[in-house]
């Protein structure tokens, strides 16, 4: 049997994309033991500059790394590539959360962990933007996507804009959010 620990990431771009989503999970009890706040802050700064932390840092996010590994195996890939990371965080992550809630996953604060599509409504300052999402308006960090302006479609994970997305991607994300019976009906992005 192939072990998920054997699954690597294809290249630096893949790692960077993965961290833009996963770094928001640094404070979970599981990750906290491996990712002290100072390491998280350093990694966040590096990723915002398009640079990577120490080699293997991404493996500290065990649940997300495992989820991507399993998806790569399902896609019969020998490594995790950008397509896998994108598919995992945009299209699979939310339904996994809903399934896990029934099995003991817990939210520890008032910010839920789903990935939402959204449109940038207002650039507040160098660090933050207001994003309209199906779950309502969110004040989000924009340090990973500093070049984007009002109207850009984005994927938001825990109040951080991770990446820019296309209209088709936003539509698919919203459809999946609304198709899950555990989710409340969400408003349209547009």
């Amino acid at each position: 049997m192939t072990g998920i620990k054997d699954m690597g990431m294809k290249d630096d771009e893949t790692v960077l994309l993965f961290l833009k989503f996963a770094i928001q999970c640094s404070g979970s009890p599981l990750n906290r033991t491996l990712i002290p706040p100072e390491d998280e802050a350093k990694a966040r700064e590096l990723v915002s500059k398009g640079k990577l932390p120490d080699r293997g840092f991404e493996r500290r996010y065990r649940a997300a790394y495992g989820g991507c590994s399993i998806l790569a195996l399902e896609r019969e890939k020998k490594e995790i590539d950008k397509e896998v990371v994108e598919e995992y965080f945009l299209y699979r992550h939310n339904s996994n959360l809903d399934t896990d809630l029934a099995m003991g996953r817990t939210y520890r604060d008032d910010i839920d962990c789903k990935t939402y599509p959204g449109a940038i409504e207002k650039i507040e300052d160098k660090e933050f933007a207001t994003v309209k999402t199906p779950a309502g308006e969110m004040r989000c960090s924009r340090v990973f996507v500093g070049e984007l302006g009002v109207g850009s479609l984005v994927a938001v994970h825990r109040n951080v804009i991770a990446i820019q997305i296309s209209d088709d991607m936003a539509t698919k994300m919203e459809r999946l959010l609304n198709s899950n019976h555990n989710s409340k009906r969400l408003r349209s992005v547009g």
């Binding site: 072990g3 033991t33 790394y65 495992g66 099995m103 003991g104 996953r105 520890r108």
Partner: protein, 65 residues
């Protein structure tokens, strides 16, 4: 902040395992190598994704209470 569920392995049959999580039993598919009964795993969407050390698992589970 959310926390993926953690289960204690009760039985194993090929790539299928049964875990105990919060007093309930759950059947999972597992891609984790080197597992033994009594080990702790994190899982997502009914798939075990990684093994974690007992001390860490108990610390996290205790932290949830």
């Amino acid at each position: 902040m959310c926390q993926a569920p953690i289960g204690k392995v009760l039985s194993m049959d090929g790539d299928r395992i049964t875990v105990e999580c919060k007093g309930k039993r759950a059947g999972l598919k597992s891609f984790v190598t080197g597992l033994a009964i009594g080990d702790y795993v994190i899982f997502s969407s009914n798939i075990a994704v990684d093994k974690i050390e007992k001390e860490e698992a108990l610390l996290i589970l205790g932290d949830r209470k």
